[in-house]
């Protein structure tokens, strides 16, 4: 017979496991198993059609990736995507949040307008922007011609030099509203007494923003940035619909490379290796995100 305290602890833990069990099972079936399966597949050769995977090839798929210049191109593009998108998305979101945090007549309307792209279907957004960027009749070039800047008119998506920036611009336009909402919520939660004290001390708007608001908002800014980084690394649909990674791999990112290797070239092993690398990177960043969140909670508690 077990002692009463042990039985009590076991009963308490059993109840906990019973409540979390279904969720853990779902997590294991739909997250852990696919990740594990992808790792396993990345060590094999498989065309994706036959019911059984092909021979075990060890790290050969990873070696092939390292030697593949398209992989490095895709990795670089993913990094550029993140490096360019995140500051723009968070920076613009912060500026707009500061603006909308003031007492403006059309504040609610503006907030809604900035958030509309976030809730719009991505397919619709990409189709609209394809037409905007169309070199001959597209809105952007038409406007440039109309304002006397015809020399700047350009085949935006058809030129490898401008295709990636053009896609990033759409991504920023689509997601800036999301950053705005998070940051606005953060601004509205800032301690008013601190702000008031700064104003009493004679801080002007710029000083208030730079010396008080920004430091207080740092954890939320970091969180928004991390969400943007993860979103940027995972980007697939936008690129795939707009350019399919082209022209000449100029917009190829890791996720589109993964798709191409898996479903167009039938290299499921290589595609799985790309997936494993991508998951590893995203998980690492998610870990950083968790640390940042913990830090923010500690700051709040202090």
């Amino acid at each position: 017979m077990l002692p009463a305290t042990v039985r009590y602890r076991w009963r308490r833990q059993a109840a906990g496991y019973a409540f979390t069990g279904p969720a853990l099972l779902i997590l294991a079936a739909f997250l852990l198993y696919p990740i594990g399966y992808s790792v396993w597949l990345s060590l094999h050769e498989w065309d994706g059609y036959t019911p059984r995977w092909g021979p075990f090839v060890g790290l050969e798929n990873y070696r092939a990736l390292v030697a593949d210049e398209v992989f490095w191109r895709a990795a670089l593009n993913s990094i550029v995507f993140v490096i360019v998108r995140t500051p723009l998305e968070v920076g613009l979101g912060f500026l707009l949040a500061l603006l909308l945090n003031r007492r403006l007549a059309a504040r609610s309307l503006l907030r809604t307008l900035f958030f509309v792209p976030v809730v719009m279907s991505l397919i619709v957004v990409t189709i609209i922007f394809q037409r905007v960027y169309e070199p001959n009749t597209g809105l952007l070039n038409t406007v440039l011609h109309a304002v006397g800047l015809g020399a700047w008119a350009h085949p935006w998506l058809g030129d490898p030099a401008t295709a990636l920036p053009a896609v990033i611009a759409v991504s920023v336009w689509k997601n800036v509203g999301f950053s705005l909402v998070i940051l606005l919520a953060g601004l509205q939660g800032l301690p008013q007494d601190v702000m008031e004290a700064a104003r009493v001390d004679g801080a002007n708007a710029w000083q208030l923003t730079r010396r008080v608001i920004t430091p207080l908002m740092r954890p939320i800014l970091a969180l928004t940035a991390l969400l943007s980084i993860i979103g940027g690394l995972k980007v697939f649909d936008l690129v795939f619909i707009m350019t399919r990674g082209g022209p000449t791999y100029s917009t190829e990112v890791l996720a589109t490379m993964l798709y191409r290797e898996a479903f167009e070239l039938n290299h499921m092993g290589v595609a799985s290796a790309v997936a494993v690398i991508l998951v590893a990177v995203v998980l690492s960043i998610a870990r950083i995100q968790a640390l940042v969140l913990r830090e923010s909670r500690e700051i709040e508690a202090a």
Binding site: G48, Y49, P135, N136, T137, P155, L157, T248, R260, F263
Partner: protein
């Protein structure tokens, strides 16, 4: 249109056919001797000649072909699943399936799933096949790499036995189309339609500026210069549509110099991609990109954009496929005088290359629980009666010869003067298919690099050859 001699040469020369014989093939296909079929098998073209439509008599015509009943019927209520990727084909497929049910097999229904595009459908099919699913029973596949994938993995059934049991059904297809779908000796799928890539043009703009349909590349360049001087874009070319479009000019040139068989051999790893003819194809792509003939930034232009440019009169020509006919018609304003012509001869004295291929093709899942019924349904859709209904509905070219009466019947409801034009061009078609996925990818990227001026023709073809060599000996043969 090419001359008789051109066409003779275009058919491979092994057993050159006169126009009269080509026309006879259309009418007398059912009695054509096997030797003719074997001779045509050596060619790379897809399609054949159709007869001139008979003058339509008064009154409503009927489909002159017999809708033959199946050899096997469902013993109880049965639903076949069919996954395809061309939304605008659903209506006619449904119509034929319902007629089949009404006339021949009341227990058999067809459930069609139309994916939004080929990529989505291919992903779905791949997952189903890998999971050994008996669904779908019928699968739509593209010729080329897709056909190779499903065939070499043993995922689909061979039509050889079906053809052996019903030789008349087999004779209903263009032999060269079946050739394109024959992998390692097995007929992987059968085509529902054939189609071409041609140049649509705005007749009014041509008339207004005194332009004639070009016969040679020089003619086309002159037309381009005239139109550019008037502020009209010569050709809307949607090179950004998918990964096959950037290769169209290449196929065009290679077909135009009758090197399409060489292309196929290179595709199969039997000849180098760096041979002078194939490098010349890349030079042609480069030249076209720099010629000022295309609307600016072709790689940033998708099909709807190009159609809009053409329909609004911004461009005088549109280089596209027969399958776009409906979208183009839908976009054109009333009174738009639409015409078409084959791409002009790319070499002096050469023929006019019309890219041609089978359209959607149908096959049976090797794990289907009703393979015989699935074959019967495919026979209904692609057989003598079905093909006339199918192409009447869509204005695409049939998968094989049909009679003059059948064309007259189709024209009664189609009322599209372009349809007979497409039929006329079909026999002059040249390939636009690559079987090896890695090579196709290298070609797509290479052609994009040529269009954007990033690489030279020689370096592009060297990189294609490197990709081809990396694949090594192919595990499949075609035809």
């Amino acid at each position: 249109m090419g001359t008789v001699t051109d066409r003779r040469e275009a058919h491979g020369g092994a057993r050159a056919m006169s126009r009269r014989r080509l026309l006879r093939l259309g009418v007398l296909a059912a009695t054509a001797p096997p030797v003719v079929l074997r001779a045509r098998r050596a060619t790379a073209q897809i399609g054949g000649a159709q007869p001139t439509p008979a003058p339509a008599p008064a009154g409503e015509l009927k489909n002159p072909a017999e809708f033959r009943g199946p050899k096997i019927k469902a013993s109880g209520p049965t639903t076949l699943s069919f996954w395809q990727y061309v939304g605008f084909h659903v209506e006619v497929q449904k119509f034929i399936a319902e007629e089949y049910k009404r006339r021949h097999d009341p227990n058999l229904s067809l459930e069609i799933t139309a994916y939004p595009g080929l990529n989505e459908q291919r992903v779905g099919v791949k997952s189903a096949l890998a999971a050994q699913s008996p669904t779908p029973d019928i699968i739509a596949i593209e010729p080329g790499a897709y056909a190779v994938d499903v065939s070499t993995s043993g995922s689909v059934l061979d039509f050889t036995k079906v053809f052996a049991d019903d030789p008349e059904y087999k004779r209903g297809f263009w032999p060269n189309a079946l050739d394109l779908l024959t992998i390692n000796g097995a007929v992987v799928s059968v085509p529902a339609v054939t189609n071409t890539v041609i140049v649509y043009y705005n007749r009014s703009v041509f008339r207004q500026h005194g332009l004639e349909v070009p016969n040679t590349l020089d003619d086309l360049k002159k037309i381009g210069a005239t139109l550019n001087a008037k502020g009209i874009i010569p050709i809307a070319y949607p090179a950004g549509q998918d990964r096959n479009f950037p290769i169209f000019p290449y196929y065009t040139y290679v077909g135009g110099i009758k090197a399409d068989r060489l292309l196929r051999e290179a595709d199969l790893g039997l000849k180098p991609w760096t041979s002078p003819e194939l490098v010349a194809g890349a030079e042609f792509v480069e030249m076209m990109a720099k010629s000022g003939l295309y609307a600016k930034g072709p790689l940033g232009i998708k099909e709807p954009d190009a159609i809009q440019i053409f329909a609004t009169g911004r461009s005088a020509m549109f280089w596209g496929g027969q399958w776009m006919r409906r979208s183009i018609r839908a976009a054109l304003p009333p009174g738009f005088d639409l015409g078409l012509f084959p791409f002009p001869a790319v070499a002096p004295g050469g023929h006019k290359p019309v890219l041609s291929s089978v359209g959607i093709t149908l096959t049976v899942n090797a794990r289907s629980k009703q393979p015989d019924l699935a074959f019967e349904m495919i026979k209904a859709i692609t057989g003598a009666w079905g093909k006339i209904e199918y192409t009447k509905n869509l204005g695409l070219s049939p998968n094989g010869p049909i009679s003059a009466d059948a064309i007259a019947y189709q024209m009664q409801s189609l009322k599209d003067p372009l349809y007979p034009e497409f039929l006329k061009l079909q026999p002059t078609g040249t390939t636009r298919v690559i079987f090896t996925p890695v090579v196709e990818e290298a070609m797509t990227q290479g052609m994009q690099a040529l269009i954007t001026g990033q690489k030279t023709a020689k370096t592009v073809m060297e990189s294609v050859e490197a990709a081809s060599q990396k694949v090594g000996t192919r595990k499949f043969r075609t035809g």
